[in-house]
Symmetry: C2
Subunit: 225 residues, 2 copies
DNA sequence: TAGATTGTTAATCGATTAACAATC
DNA sequence: TAGATTGTTAATCGATTAACAATC
């Protein structure tokens, strides 16, 4: 039995992690020295209990009657998200989406840097995406080794996504951010996060429709009575 | 009291809705006539109980020993997601991300059509994004009315996101898909879905780091003993 | 000090998983 | 018929919300 349980890395639940990111963003925008759980809650749109509960996953503690020290909390979150130590990632698929991701301004704020773009289409090789020249697939291994890359982004059509995933895995990639609408089959020790661009929009559409139906119904009921 | 409770629209929980979309995708790819909850589960990576539970939100029923009729189920899901009846949406912000979204091939499969792109930068007006010519902001009202648009996508920098949101709301938009990393303040009856591109990648990064720490620790413990 | 705000424990809620009778 | 697979109910799990003593 290990006796250093206190050093056991704490796994933060996904919903909490997502909110911690919102807190971090807020703290970067805020001017004051201290902030209460109530204020954080109001500004990101949740409740104070939630905020306090989330913050128990961190070391920083608040002071009764004062709140949390903005700078301390901001720094711990910065540390948590690894803002300072850059994570290098590669991207496969030099299409519209790949282009948008390379040019996405939000990544650098979180220490994420796309160091290379690959494509199997010979016509695209050598063309520029942002400041990066598109490289051929056979260069993946070299780049991964050179920059110690662990994460790969897949932005290719679904037909070639599995093939690309296998190449990435064979070159040592341990995490895949998959934009292709297909389930990738990878070894157990490789994380895959699927990103479905239509999901959110579809959800929005669905909930709008339900609201509309409810309104229609209440009208009908009003007419009846 | 309404006596037509049976017509009360069922609100499907978000996680279930997300999985239903995966089932739908699978059923479109599948050749056989029937499919069991077990097979669906395996192919999308969940368990059979989950699948059966999810499907209780639908009308389609399976047959013991046979499974679900693929075509019936596929059609009900198609209906649920409104694949057939096109939802027209507009997009504000003709940058890289806007460009990627307009050219995203996944939307049309789910009956989503971006009918117009707007930008406040005069230099961008008239330029083409996909097949759409970028329009000036003052045209929003006209387009919304003409195409009965209810959903708007915000792809502008965070500084102008709130302003754009207010314009959209004033023109009658009821749902906003927000890509700007800021919280929008809108009336109660307007849905906002925030899309944070960094979130997934950050989560991936976080879980990879935890895994790494765990491995390190187990090495240390092994050395000790 | 009195009162505001914390950290934490307990209660609630919602979603997932397990179990099993119904049935094709 | 026997066995596979369903639909549904009950148990479990995890996350959110409520409550409140501790304390600055």
């Amino acid at each position: 039995m290990p006796d250093n349980q206190d050093r056991e890395p704490i796994v933060i639940p996904k919903p909490t992690l997502d909110r911690l990111k919102l807190y971090h963003r807020l703290l970067n925008e805020v001017e004051q020295k201290h902030i209460s759980s109530e204020e954080i809650a109001q500004r990101i749109g949740t409740n104070a209990e939630q905020v306090r509960k989330d913050l128990t996953f961190l070391k920083t503690m608040g002071k009764p009657k004062v709140g949390y020290d903005v700078e301390t909390l901001r720094q711990e979150l910065e540390e948590l998200f690894g803002v300072k130590k850059t994570t290098k990632v590669i991207l496969v698929g030099a299409g519209h989406l790949g282009n948008a991701l390379v040019n996405y301004p939000g990544f650098e704020n979180y220490g994420i840097e796309i160091v290379a773009v690959f494509d199997k289409d010979p016509k695209k090789i050598g063309s520029f995406i942002g400041e990066l020249s598109v490289l051929p697939m056979q260069d993946i291994g070299r780049v991964v080794k050179r920059f110690h890359v662990e994460i790969g982004i897949i932005c290719v059509p679904k037909e070639s996504a599995q093939e690309v995933a296998e190449i990435l895995v064979s070159k040592g990639i341990k995490g895949i951010w998959n934009f292709a609408p297909t389930r990738l089959i990878v070894p157990n020790d490789v994380f895959v996060v699927d990103e479905d661009m239509t999901q959110s929009l579809l959800t929005l559409k669905h909930y709008l429709e339900i609201k509309k139906k409810k309104i229609q119904e209440s009208h009908q009921n009003a007419e009846k009575s």
